[in-house]
Structures are given as structure tokens and as C-alpha cells.
Symmetry: C2
Subunit: 239 residues, 2 copies
DNA sequence: CGGTGTGAAAGTTTTCACAGCG
DNA sequence: CGCTGTGAAAACTTTCACACCG
């Protein structure tokens, strides 16, 4: 088996990894997978950076947080690097996910094929509306919220998605936390209050447009962006 | 009329505003709107920060990029600050938006009511699939892509959303750019190559989960997040 | 060569801490 | 007094530049 070149023993210390580095890791991985599908065997930090709008040094520094993966004079082997990144990000094993809220957006997410690509699978959907409970959508049965704890425990679910209206999001978050979920993607336009051991990522569609509105209005020719991919920002508000 | 306390004349210089500041601005605004609906008249930097997981100093510094909005000993008046932030972000005037791709997710976005809250309205939808063209969804007619330039010009559209599969995203982006769009929200899991005058924000749903997977796996108790809201990251890859 | 890994320098963002104001 | 606005310090992130490697 193709072993990573940096055994966990000599990871470059336990220096905390900046979250911006982790978000770029996801972009590197996405690009590497695309390159690999296209048949490319190796890639240099400069090439990878170019494709994403980063400098070569940044790519190398980012990878350097996790180990030594490259070959001087050659670059990185795509297959090795993909495997290493998936190990780091945790997507080399499956992640069962629960979703709460089966409205417009929830329905769309249930049908989204892209999650599987990174080993996520929505195992159960919940809704407070009795009219929705009992329906089967995309092969997934919509259940009442009181079944949440049992499903989470039984399926070993650690991640949840909140796709309910703003007013109900905090209450749903509380129930997910009580049920034992450790990470939440929140699509509701509110900031959740969560205990410190629960991680979250927020996606607010109106805010995405609002950021563009600012950027376009202020013609941030450069100084704003270089490349990037999705990710909301990780959150754990106190209080 | 309630005038902003900092006339454009004495804005704190043209120092480039870090994009992370702008992303927090959207969160401040969202929270302020919630507070205002709840009847709150004024708020201090400390209170606002607490609700979002930021320090009081950070809130004040962020606002300081744009002017002086507070009253010593009192805090900020919600109504004034909301107005000022909307002026800054550009959402005090309507933004017509076009959407390309009317699949699962596109349909859900067409029905999402949250955009209107910040003055965005989807004016037209496009799809390459002849079976979809001609349908009316949420009151919006689905048109063929060749009508894109005319609609953009005619409606004064500056922003677009890409909701097509990864393979077609770059081609659609090119057509949006040619049609004259200045900002793009990209839901496809690829990094777009865009000219420097076109801004973009990327939202990759699988990456959101992947970031959580890392955070949960590495139990980033703190050091990762504090609070946050949505936003992808602004992008303008070179090449 | 072409390319990695990495200290050290430069640049950026956050926090501190305090003068000043109503 | 309670809170803003803001320089100055601290912390963090990115870029530079170069030794080293195959």
C-alpha cells in the first residue's frame, strides 16, 4: 500500500494549523482530483498555485504544515498527494450526515450528487411539518424531529446540516447538539450559539451576493481576491 | 433624512479594506437587522461582538475603515448603522441578478426568499436544456442561453449565479463575462478563470462539509473559529 | 536543471490600552 | 461613568530567497 511519506510520528509539530490553510487544502484537493481524472501524474507547487491563483511558496508552506509530500526537481505525485490530503481532511472514510429541514433548499441538497464525491452521505432527513414526515425523497425517508437522537446514535452520525428558516435554526441546533452531533453546516441566516466542542460552518446565500455587491461597487480590481473556493467560515461563538 | 455621520469627504483614507473586514460587515448588518426587528435602538461594540463571537475592539476597528458611526458612552444607533452599512455594501439599491442552470439547486435558489431581504432579485433564469426552456418557475421564465446578452443589457444586470455542473461552469462564466456581468457567485465545484475586472465568490457545498470534517476530526476546540457567517471567498484568479 | 522545504523578512490583521467625549 | 476611535504592540500570514536534492 502506498504509504504517505511522512509517518504521523514526525508531523511538523503540533503547531495549530490556521483555518485559512485548511480551506486552501480543500481547493488543492479538488484541483488535484480534477487533474488526476485528466490523466496528470505529477504537479509542481507552481502549477497548482497557478491554477488556483496562489503563489508556489504558499502551496509549499501550506503542505508543509502537514508533512513532506514532494520530490525535489519533480513536484508532487497526484495520487500520493490526494491520498495524503484526504487523510488530513478526514474524507478517506465515510461520513454519515443528517439534514434538518426539507423545504426548497433542503430538497435540492438531498438531490445533490456532489457530496458523495468526498465521502459524505445524507442518511436521514427531518422536518417539523407533519405533512412532510413520512414522505420518501431521493430514497430518504423524512422523519419527525423526535427521532433525531436515535438516528444519530444508531448511525454514528457526527455532522448535521440545518436548512430551516432563521427563526427555528437555533432550536434545531440545540437539538442536534443534544443528540451528539459534533459539526454543523448552517444554511439559515443567523449566527448560532454553540458549545465550544461543536464546530460549525455557515453559508448565507444573501451574504454571498452582498459581498459581491461590495466588490463590484468598489471595483476591487485586485487587493480583494485571488483564487478561492467555497467554504463558509468555521465558527464556535461563545456565550 | 437621516444622514450618515461621515460624509464621503472624510472617509478614513482610501486604505484598501481587507476582505475579511467586509465579510464581517455582512454579519454585523445581519445581526443589526435582527436586533432592530426586536426593537433594540442602540448597541455597543461589545454587545454586537459578543453576539457574533468577535471582540469589541474588532468591531470598532472594522467600522473605523468606513467612518465614524458611534456615540461615546452610548454605542451605535441601530437604524443609522444599518443604513450606513447598506450604503457601504451597496444594498441600499436593488440588484437584478441572472441565474444560469435550473437543475435541483437552481430551482431551490429561484424559490429562496432570503435574497430579497438584501435587495437582490433574480430577474431571469437560463438553461441549455431545451426541455427546461420555456417553463415558468416561481414566476420566472427559463430562457435559452443565447438570450443572455440581451437580458443583461436590457435589465442592467451586473451579477450572475452559476448553478450548472462543473464541466459547464467555465463556459458559462465566459458567456456571463462577455455579456457584461461584473460579479459571479459560482456554485459549481471548480475554480473559474476570470478577467481581473470580474469579481467572484465561490460556494462549494462538499467543501463546506470537508472543512467540518477536518475540524471535527482534529477537535479544534478553539484556534479555529470564533463566530461567522456565510460568505465564500472573493476570487479573481489570474492566468 | 527544475523543483522542494524552510528559515528569515515583509506585510497584514488583531489585540491592547488609553485619551477623549457626552 | 460607559463607550468610541485610534495609535502602538503583538500575533499571525505571506513572500522571499536560498540550501539542498535527484
Amino acid at each position: 500500500m502506498n504509504e504517505s511519506r511522512t509517518p504521523s510520528g514526525d508531523l511538523p509539530s503540533d503547531a495549530p494549523v490556521p483555518k485559512v490553510v485548511v480551506s486552501r487544502l480543500s481547493l488543492y484537493l479538488r484541483e488535484l482530483q480534477r487533474l488526476q481524472s485528466a490523466g496528470q501524474q505529477t504537479i509542481s507547487s507552481g502549477q497548482l498555485g497557478n491554477l488556483l491563483g496562489f503563489s508556489d511558496a504558499q502551496v509549499r508552506k501550506d503542505l508543509g504544515f502537514f508533512g513532506q509530500f514532494g520530490y525535489p526537481g519533480v513536484g508532487y505525485r497526484c495520487d500520493e498527494l490526494i491520498r495524503a490530503m484526504r487523510d488530513i481532511l478526514g474524507t478517506n472514510h465515510p461520513w454519515p450526515v443528517v439534514m434538518v429541514g426539507v423545504g426548497n433548499l433542503g430538497l435540492a441538497l438531498l438531490g445533490y450528487r456532489g457530496f458523495g464525491r468526498q465521502n459524505f452521505s445524507i442518511r436521514a432527513a427531518f422536518d417539523a411539518d407533519p405533512a412532510k414526515v413520512g414522505q420518501t425523497i431521493q430514497g430518504i425517508l423524512v422523519r419527525p424531529l423526535n427521532e433525531l437522537p436515535a438516528v444519530v446514535r444508531h448511525e454514528g452520525v457526527r455532522l448535521g446540516m440545518i436548512v430551516v428558516p432563521a427563526e427555528r435554526a437555533q432550536e434545531v441546533a440545540d437539538r442536534l447538539v443534544v443528540a451528539g452531533v459534533e459539526g454543523i453546516v448552517n444554511f439559515a441566516p443567523v449566527t448560532l450559539v454553540l458549545p465550544p466542542h461543536v464546530q460549525s460552518v455557515a453559508v448565507d446565500l444573501a451574504i454571498e451576493l452582498e459581498q459581491l455587491s461590495f466588490a463590484v461597487t468598489n471595483k476591487l480590481a485586485r487587493g480583494f481576491g485571488e483564487s478561492i473556493g467555497g467554504q463558509g467560515t468555521l465558527a464556535t461563538p461563545e456565550q
